[in-house]
Amino acid sequence: MAASIALGVLTFDLILIVVTGGLSILTPSLKPSPAAFAAREALLALALVARLRMLASEDRRISAGRLMLVLAIFPALFHLRFIGRRITGDAVYYYVYTRSMVRDADVDFANEYEHYDLLKRGDFSMPTDTGHRRSIYSVGPGLLWTPFFVAADGLNSVLGAMGLEVNTSGYGPLHINAVALGSFAYGVLALFLIHALLRRHFGDRLAGGAVLLLWWASFFEWYLVEQPLTSHPLSVLLVATFFLLRQNQALSTSPGSLALGLILGVGMSVRWQNGVYLLLPSVDLLAAAFRREALSGIIRRGLLLGAGVLVGILPQMLAWKAIYGQYLLAYPPHGADFLRLDRPFLLNTLFSSRHGLLSWTPVFWLCLLGLIPLTRRNPRRFAILWTPLLIMTYVNACSGDWWSGGAYSNRRFDSLLPVFALGLAAFLQSANGFLRRHPSTLLAALVIGGAAWNLTFVRAVQREEVRAGDSHSLAARSLAAARALSHDIGFPTTWPASWIFAARYDASPGAFDLAAGKYLFYRQNNLNGIADLGEADDGGLILEGFSGARQDGPITYRAVDSAARLIVSLDLPETLGVSFRARSSNGAPAIVEISINGKAVGSVQAQADWEEVRIEAPQRLWARGPNIMTLRASSSIQLDRVSFARPER
């Protein structure tokens, strides 16, 4: 009893510190430093190990897998408290739902947007048909965070009664911290549910290891502690709950069917794409029909499932009704062209350096590979997992910004984490067996690693990235070695997309990194139609034939001695006016022949002084995605920039 009280006090103290930003019941007059916070965590961790493992009776002892997860919470909580951000990126747009629903009992965000200085922004300045301000974000996270917001109100009252200064506006750090901690708690709960899902198939420890690896080696850790105020922790929680309910045969009973539908519906209110999972219970019900179960029971459970879904998505429908005047929107609120199902960017979504899922977080390779033995082992149970995996991957690849905006890795795959966890556990299980049978694999890996460490540096010297005798920091050595590696065989996490890119455009696979996903005009952070050569970030534009960056007063440029190739990406082929700001290197005029994707466009003449010369490139020459522009100069020229102008609209 005393131990439980001590555990409770320590836990409450940590929560209080996180929420208030420094108030502690153990040291009321002293704001805990990071070291003091870490010491409290260590104490609590020790107490938990003693209480739940060492001193607990065998039947009440926490499993090793769960204990690993419990202990991993502490470094994550430390990050959340001292490092993690709060109102950044999408967070503000989810948080305004919470505040508006609790404080104003509506979803009119005018006052919240005004507080965050967003009301002047183009898309928020005009009210919708219902007089509200628009939001492209889902209502679910904001709704499910309300208990934490209300709890913060309660804590505020207590602190106020104690005579402390409090901020009751709902914009203060206490409310935001409380909601962030709530989101963190949802995410941690999701991990325990995934562990429970995996335990049945892989045992406790392997399941724990898989969950731990997925947690710390994927984007989930980022959205748990660095940007907790997003929909991702909740989305994973609801999908994990759905999978666990389904695994526990919830669909075989009426209450279970209703609960399954409700979870799925709420999940859709959190992230609309979770609706894809409706497929699974639908297939389950169809399978029941094939097994000749009573039709009335199937229909009843189907109706309850549907009712649950409807109730679950009701908050989203009501929010849309309030904001847009419609219960269901024909298109995503991002715009009609946001989802283009005829235009998937599959390789980019998975492998691009712009938040590619596999290139940024290669742990997902293991997840995908593991699904193969998993499906082989029990196709009737697991083959169905490929369906949501493929559908969601396709949908994500068809999103207008397939790179998920300012994301860490491709966060839109969050709903698939339980599926990935199953694949990862299966991979680890297979790898375990393989290594037991072929232990020399470890030696091969060590030798390959040792050779790679040296060979890449040797290649860097051969490519004159560095000089052999010079001493460099590890960062500089790694830069040179990784550049050489990328140039020769592509960066490993971009395989095979970088090889396909290299083959298609007759370029080094290393060019894939900066070129794939950099657009002339398309969406945010595009080039504004200007390929500015000689600038620090022009690496994604040039393939070969250009000199190093040079400077002529304020002008930065690159020289072309004979032939050079540029790469520029378009989302939509259209006729473009192409202007070259160039001059000849030797003072005499130089003729430059231009071709696009191997087809001649015409020629321009570079004079002795910097001048802009223009040529028109018709639509038929351009392709969607990367385009290769080849310049063939009669004599050496210097190129400052190439500007692309779209026709007047």
């Binding site: 350096s353 680890l428 051969q462 001493s471 960062a475 050595r477 550049r483 990194d513 952070n525």
Partner: protein, 378 residues
Amino acid sequence: MTSVPFAGPAAASSLPGLGLFAGSLAAYLWLVRSQAPLPVRMALAALLALGPSMVEFFRAAWWSLSFHSLFVSLFGAHGLLYGAPLLWAGFVGLISLRRENPGLVRLALAALVPGALALLLSTDQLAITNRAATWIPFLLPGMAQCFEKARAFAARRPERVIAGAGGLLVLWNLLFMEQYRLRLLPSDDTVSFAQVTSNSAGLLSRAVGTPFAWPLNWIFAWRFDTSPDRWDAVADRRLFTDKRNAVATIEFGDDASPFAPDTPLLLEGFGDRRTCERGWCRDVEGEGRLLLPLQDAGRSDLTIRLRARGQGVLRFSLDETSTSVTELTEALSEVALRVPGRFVRAGVNVLSLSVAGGGRATLDRLTLERVPSPSSAR
């Protein structure tokens, strides 16, 4: 043993080095199989190990003995264990082999101990790989033993090996997260994975040092009150590139690349590169420190010339021994400090600069010049 030919670009392109290694390998095999008494074979092994160092000693224009030389030969950026970390397996394996095959271990130690001790010798020749090529074959049995142990461990506890591999994935992710958090990468644009790798390596080596240089980089960081990543770029650097060079120059800010030679030498107090008059410079605000890795110390006096401008009085000193105090001028001009040879340490020295009253000095160039000391002239 693939690590030896791959022990660095110099080794890969050095045919004599590879020949020496191949010859030593053959000699090692002969010594192992020979029926000669063990003491004789041990003596031959020691001679083989010391051979290249002795040749270098007689060819050298100058030489000195220092632990610094030993440490950088093993753990410096061009060091054996840094460039070929798998060689560690050879040393570790010998420990566990000492009971199973003491004769083989004694033979190995007969070569390894004098061979490694010979690395105390520092000369103008930069031939670490050649000097080690004759005793590295003696690591073979240890390496084989270590690999066998690792293989048995992988068969017995594969889950731990997998946990280690998983740890690498976690490390990749945490370092990637950290650089994204610190905005070392654009938040919404394409990135170069070479840059990502470099950023991660930088974060890791700044925080805990390059693992292949442990624990020397920790000691270095503690000694010079800096981060352990400095070790890699500074420890085995020689400002005077060879014996013919009497002058060494550090240009401040001229090179903007990540490989800029001045950057690793700058400790605290130095600003970003900036234009000054017709070139590039760096500012020192108040106080600053600069690392000067020097070999062949103590043989001649050292004149340090600093081309600088600013307002106020600039004070600079080497290792807090010799000090120069000079009034700065508006235009770039040279200030000088002569340091007697006995005050110049073999290895890394620290040049401290301070501008009176917390002012700013703009530095263009630092020139080091060896000058015959009056005592040697006599």
